[in-house]
């Protein structure tokens, strides 16, 4: 069961991991975008990591809402509204819940991923963060159906995210800046799929 402490650990771990991979994310974005994904995400997640110093949170929903709002207000670009919406929708799904079990987390993740879809209107194969998040969600669901606990389901999700991320290399981007490249985007890994994989890897380390 994941509590608010787990969720704060998640966001802190995510912020740390993003900072470590900032240059790498920016390099991916330089190749097919505008070279700012690393700094965008670092700016936003660093700000999120300060939230617990400034206030206390009554539960996961309360905390994730603040995280979502903070991302919306600090990241900018395409990833700001997308990650922001992800956390805001998770938060809504977890309102008034204190201990989050595998089923509930699945519903919350699904709400988050749906939020990204609504905001960005991406489809599978468009080479976006959705191509890491969608298979992650499916694997998570499958693992839970197969009886996995939180740890097992999140590990499966992280693994699927990484595979989905790697698969973006062979895709032609159809959303976001990379889409302007047309065929020339093939052969490049999508930066948002890379950061989304870091998000799920952080979850696997902290939520269970």
């Amino acid at each position: 069961m994941a509590t608010v402490e787990n969720f704060t650990a998640w966001v802190h771990d995510f912020a740390r991991t993003i900072a470590e991979h900032s240059e790498q994310l920016t390099d991916l974005d330089r190749a097919i975008g505008d070279g700012d994904h690393g700094s965008n995400m670092t700016r936003g997640t660093a700000r999120c990591a300060q939230l617990t110093d400034e206030q206390t949170f009554t539960g996961p929903g309360d905390y994730l809402k603040k995280v979502g709002m903070t991302l919306v207000s600090t990241v900018g670009g395409a990833s700001g509204p997308l990650y922001g919406t992800f956390f805001l929708r998770m938060a809504t799904s977890l309102t008034e819940v204190d201990d989050v079990g595998p089923e509930q987390l699945g519903t919350a993740l699904e709400a988050g991923v749906e939020g990204i879809l609504t905001r960005g209107r991406a489809e599978r194969g468009d080479a976006t963060m959705y191509d890491a998040l969608a298979p992650a969600l499916e694997s998570y669901r499958q693992a839970v159906a197969d009886g996995a606990d939180l740890a097992g389901a999140l590990a499966a999700a992280a693994k699927a995210a990484a595979e989905g991320r790697d698969a973006t290399t062979d895709m032609v981007a159809r959303k976001g800046r990379a889409s302007y490249l047309g065929d020339r985007s093939r052969g490049h890994l999508d930066p948002g799929a890379a950061s989304a994989t870091l998000l799920l890897e952080s979850a696997a380390r902290t939520l269970a």
């Binding site: 330089r30 070279g35 965008n40 889409s179």
Partner: protein, 334 residues
């Protein structure tokens, strides 16, 4: 990376400090929120014009704030859309009772952030908000399979013309309709001789060989339509003018308004030379130039290169173009 900056993370904030110092009477800058306001905003009874986007395109947008053009501009990080909080704050601050028009360049980030701002502003009672998305870049073909055409040079012409309409006291609906008509009638194409370097990245966004150009480049150092061998100015001019003309539904009743825009690192002597080639091509195509503008207006940091924008002109558009404007980046008649 060789730039006149301090910490790469402080570039936008510090440039706004300098901008405030340089234009104390004309602009009011909210440094906390990174919003550039015309000093006398809000203007009662006038539609408020709000634009914004990533920084690094100066003078766009902050340099186009002032009488006859924008009421507020939200500055994002370099090449990164500003956030909804900024747009909401700007919207509130410039609302003079006649509503607020958001002018949004068509980039996923800008569109989504402005969309969130409009949703949030709608939730707040009071301010009527309309939004127009600018997408004039013909370099982006298959717009079905992409994020759609980018908003580039037309933004400058549109902010000027719609700015004049708002200054005349036209309604929000009128201003939005005019803006949409301009979007339908304006097309651009750009090219780069060199890449730019995002301060926080510290390295050029793309590599271009000494004998290559990037054709169809955007304003963020996004790679363009294709790489071509370096060519003389007259051939480069044709590479820009031809696709624009092909996509434009003929000239307007009064010909076209032309913007020959520099990307930031190309000196004026080259821009004038290029404009000579563009004017010759338009003349050859029987397209009359009603008005022209040559210079660095929507840039991509220190990128060398240029873009051509054509807007179908009619009497009203030319009249609004000629109307007084008083901003740091564009000024006449005042």
């Amino acid at each position: 990376m060789k730039k006149l900056i301090n910490d790469p993370g402080d570039v936008v904030a510090e440039a706004l400090v300098g901008m405030a110092a340089a234009h104390p009477d004309r602009l009011r800058i909210d440094h906390e929120q990174r919003i550039v306001y015309r000093a006398d905003a809000p203007r009662q009874g006038k539609v408020g014009l709000v634009s914004g986007g990533g920084s690094g395109h100066e003078p766009l947008h902050g340099g186009f704030v002032g009488p006859g053009m924008l009421d507020a501009a939200c500055a994002g990080e370099v090449f990164t859309s500003p956030v909804p909080d900024q747009m909401m704050a700007a919207t509130r601050a410039v609302d003079g009772g006649a509503g607020v028009l958001h002018l949004v360049k068509n980039y996923t980030g800008d569109v989504m952030n402005f969309e969130m701002a409009a949703e949030l502003a709608a939730a707040e009672a009071g301010t009527e908000v309309a939004s127009v998305v600018i997408d004039d870049d013909v370099a982006v073909q298959d717009s079905l399979y992409t994020a759609g055409r980018r908003g580039v040079g037309l933004t400058v012409l549109l902010e000027k013309i719609v700015g004049a309409a708002a200054e005349e006291g036209r309604s929000l609906q009128d201003c939005a309709d005019l803006a949409r008509a301009l979007v339908a009638d304006g097309r651009s194409m750009g090219m780069a001789l060199t890449s730019c370097t995002v301060p926080s990245a510290g390295r050029p966004t793309f590599d271009l060989a000494e004998d290559e150009i990037e054709l169809g480049v955007g304003i963020h150092g996004e790679p363009g339509r294709e790489r071509r061998p370096l060519a003389p100015a007259r051939e480069v001019a044709a590479m820009l003018v031809e696709p624009v003309l092909a996509d434009l539904d003929g000239a307007g009743d009064d010909g076209v308004i032309v913007l020959l825009n520099g990307m930031g690192g190309t000196p004026l002597i080259e821009l004038y030379l290029m404009y000579g080639e563009v004017a010759r091509l338009l003349d050859g195509a029987g397209v009359r130039v009603a008005r022209s503008l040559v210079g660095n207006y929507i840039t991509s940091l220190e990128m060398a290169g240029c873009s051509v924008t054509l807007l179908r002109a009619d009497e009203e558009r030319v009249r609004l173009w000629d109307a007084p404007v008083n901003t740091p980046g564009l000024r006449w008649g005042a």
